[in-house]
């Protein structure tokens, strides 16, 4: 997603069969170029939350690595591109390839993967057949599926079906 180039037609979101794209309907961060856009006589009553980011102190909660999206721009999961970049740089400094699960080594984990309490999420480099994600996909070909596969949009996210016939399996 190239935020700079987005003019906000929302066509991409309409076309998304998964509806994972989200639009910035208003100026949530006080960042954009219209001086009046929080003037309540023009735009009507605003929720106090909208004003939170107007102060420099509150703005410090924002992660400096993550681009603040402006009003009118479409966004979606970026697969933690800033962590990815940091991981790539770490690998480069150590003069080796990026590790996403080869031999249990992770240069980076996406936020969702890191926070998931049950390790349900695996992110990695599918171009490397030894990475965590590739191993999951290769070992679980019968369980692995893509949502709305028939649309052939070739998503990067696959899911593993729950194994239900446990008793038989155990027996």
């Amino acid at each position: 997603m190239a935020y700079n180039r987005c003019i906000g037609t929302r066509y991409c979101a309409n076309n998304c069969p998964y509806k994972v794209r989200r639009f910035n309907w208003a100026d949530y961060t006080g960042a954009d170029s219209f001086p009046d856009n929080q003037d309540q006589t023009i735009v009507g009553v605003l929720d106090p939350a909208v004003h939170v980011m107007n102060e420099d102190l509150s703005r410090m909660v924002l992660n400096p690595d993550v681009t603040v999206r402006s009003r009118g721009v479409m966004e979606k999961c970026s697969f933690c591109v800033q962590r990815l970049q940091e991981g790539k740089l770490k690998a480069k400094r150590a003069n080796r390839a990026l590790m996403t699960g080869e031999d249990g080594q992770w240069d980076l984990k996406t936020a969702c993967q890191q926070s998931c309490p049950t390790n349900a999420i695996v992110f990695g480099n599918i171009n490397n057949s030894k990475s965590g994600i590739s191993k999951e996909r290769i070992e679980n070909t019968k369980r692995s599926f893509y949502s709305l596969e028939q649309l052939h949009v070739m998503p990067n996210v696959n899911y593993l079906v729950k194994v239900r016939n446990r008793e038989e399996h155990e027996a």
């Binding site: 003019i7 929302r10 509806k19 208003a26 856009n37 009003r71």
Partner: protein, 479 residues
């Protein structure tokens, strides 16, 4: 004299025993008198609506698209519905001018000028929507493929939205050129009749110095014919390209190959209805019943019933295929979201079916086709129905698409979206009122062109031809 002879059984295109001078008088009179009270009232109402629209758009541009009731699921609602609606209306004007010219239909001369003006104003109104619906309007120039120092970074030529940009701008330009070159001789007439200095000045400039020289007419005819030939595929292609915005997606209810012909037929349908609305009022107010005859009204109603029936067949085809294809998503879109009285939008779908499929069938009856009140009422109904068609297509398909996790709340417009739409009506009617006051609403030179063969008095005079021998006739009339 040319060999064209029109049969006596055809209705005259120009009633009332007119000669050339009378034609000029009749059509120029509304321009040369002061505007009536009715004109002022209409004009100021239109300007008021326009100002309301300007305020709505200003507020939305300052705050953000969030002033509208769109959400993550329904990204396009009234904005793009109105865009397609206005563009569809615009197509009738070009069809009347261009396609009927190629088909040598003389009756186009009574209606083409007003219809083309309607097209131009409708396209201007349509163009407002893609511009102001953008999240970052101030970067709208990003859509243009121009060499730049950012790489150079180009536009995505594979995107239907970009095809739209080219299609709508080309359509606007070509319609404007066609309309204006047709206007030149008529503006010259007004200039030559002008009594006041200001009128001579204004119409002198706008008529470009037209004199009526034969060589110029020769080129003018050639240009008109080629522009008509170019505008004809434009009518077909522009709305096809607009339909591609939906047809090239994957959403059920959008991703269907029937859209190009369905949209084009629908466009002509709604456009002719709008032409009827405008012309019925125009002919009454300006006393132009001799030029916009019942024959003209009837011919346009025939087109309405034809295209309405095509649209009806398209609806039924879609419904059938939704069932026959056994595609569960398509079937859901049609049988649960649309053609279902208990669905949140079921009322819109049934309203659309009634207005577009059932009601125009009244025009199978000649008496109804020639009845002015029925025609006027029907023209409004058809336009409402066609608005609902675009709304149903756009909103209901994305409202309940593939994954239930995506579904969100019922979409209905906010005051800003309504204001925007109402504002475009203001814009359209402001332009149309100005047009009807300062420009001739009927193509004078073209009426004169058909007067000798299709005017009422001439038809009566040349009635004797039918008893003549072929050789006598050819000898007299050939050159």
């Amino acid at each position: 004299m040319h060999l064209k002879y029109e049969a006596q059984i055809r209705e005259p295109l120009v009633d009332g025993d007119k000669d050339y001078h009378q034609v000029s008088e009749d059509i120029c009179r509304p321009i040369e008198v002061k505007p009536s009270r009715l004109w002022y009232i209409g004009f100021f109402i239109s300007v008021a609506l326009l100002l309301f629209g300007v305020w709505s758009v200003y507020d939305q541009v300052v705050y953000g698209v969030g002033q509208w009731n769109l959400n993550k699921t329904v990204g396009w609602g009234w904005d793009i519905t109105n865009f397609v609606w206005w563009i569809g209306i615009g197509h009738a004007g070009t069809l009347i001018s261009a396609i009927l010219l190629l088909f040598r239909q003389g009756w186009r001369t009574g209606v083409n000028r007003a219809a083309e003006a309607m097209t131009i104003f409708a396209v201007i109104c349509a163009g407002q929507f893609p511009i102001w619906h953008m999240g970052r309007v101030w970067l709208a120039f990003f859509i243009m493929p121009y060499p730049n120092s950012r790489g150079p970074v180009w536009v995505n030529f594979n995107s239907p939205l970009l095809w739209d940009v080219f299609a709508v701008s080309t359509y606007f330009t070509v319609s404007l050129l066609f309309w204006y070159t047709g206007l030149l001789p008529d503006l010259a007439l007004i200039r030559d009749r002008a009594k006041t200095k200001f009128r001579k000045f204004f119409y002198g400039i706008t008529s470009f110095g037209w004199t009526g020289s034969t060589k110029h007419w020769q080129r003018h005819e050639a240009l008109s014919l080629v522009l008509a030939g170019l505008a004809t595929p434009l009518v077909l292609s522009v709305h096809t390209i607009v339909s591609f915005d939906f047809a090239t997606s994957v959403i059920p209810g959008w991703h269907t190959t029937i859209f190009p012909p369905y949209f084009v037929a629908g466009a002509i349908f709604s456009g002719f209805a709008m032409v009827q609305t405008l012309l019925l009022i125009l002919r009454k107010v300006f006393s132009l019943q001799d030029y916009i005859t019942l024959g003209h009204i009837e011919a346009m109603n025939k087109v309405i019933v034809l295209t309405g029936s095509i649209v009806g067949i398209a609806y039924l085809t879609e419904l059938f295929i939704a069932f026959y294809s056994q595609n569960q998503y398509e079937a859901y879109a049609f049988f649960y979201t649309r053609a279902n009285l208990f669905s949140p939008y079921g009322w819109a779908y049934y309203g659309m079916m009634t207005c577009n499929v059932l009601s125009p069938q009244i025009f199978w009856f000649r008496k109804m086709r020639r009845n002015l009140y029925v025609t006027f009422f029907m023209s409004i109904i058809v336009n409402i129905g066609m608005w609902f068609e675009r709304f149903v297509i756009i909103a209901t398909s994305i409202f309940r698409d593939y994954l239930p996790s995506s579904w969100s709340i019922y979409y209905s417009p906010s005051i800003f979206e309504i204001g925007f739409y109402v504002g475009t009506f203001g814009l359209f009617f402001t332009c149309f009122f100005l047009f009807s006051k300062y420009f001739p609403v009927i193509a004078i030179a073209e009426i004169k062109h058909v007067l000798k063969t299709s005017g009422q008095n001439y038809k009566e005079q040349v009635g004797g031809i039918e008893s003549q021998k072929v050789e006598e006739f050819a000898g007299e009339y050939a050159h």
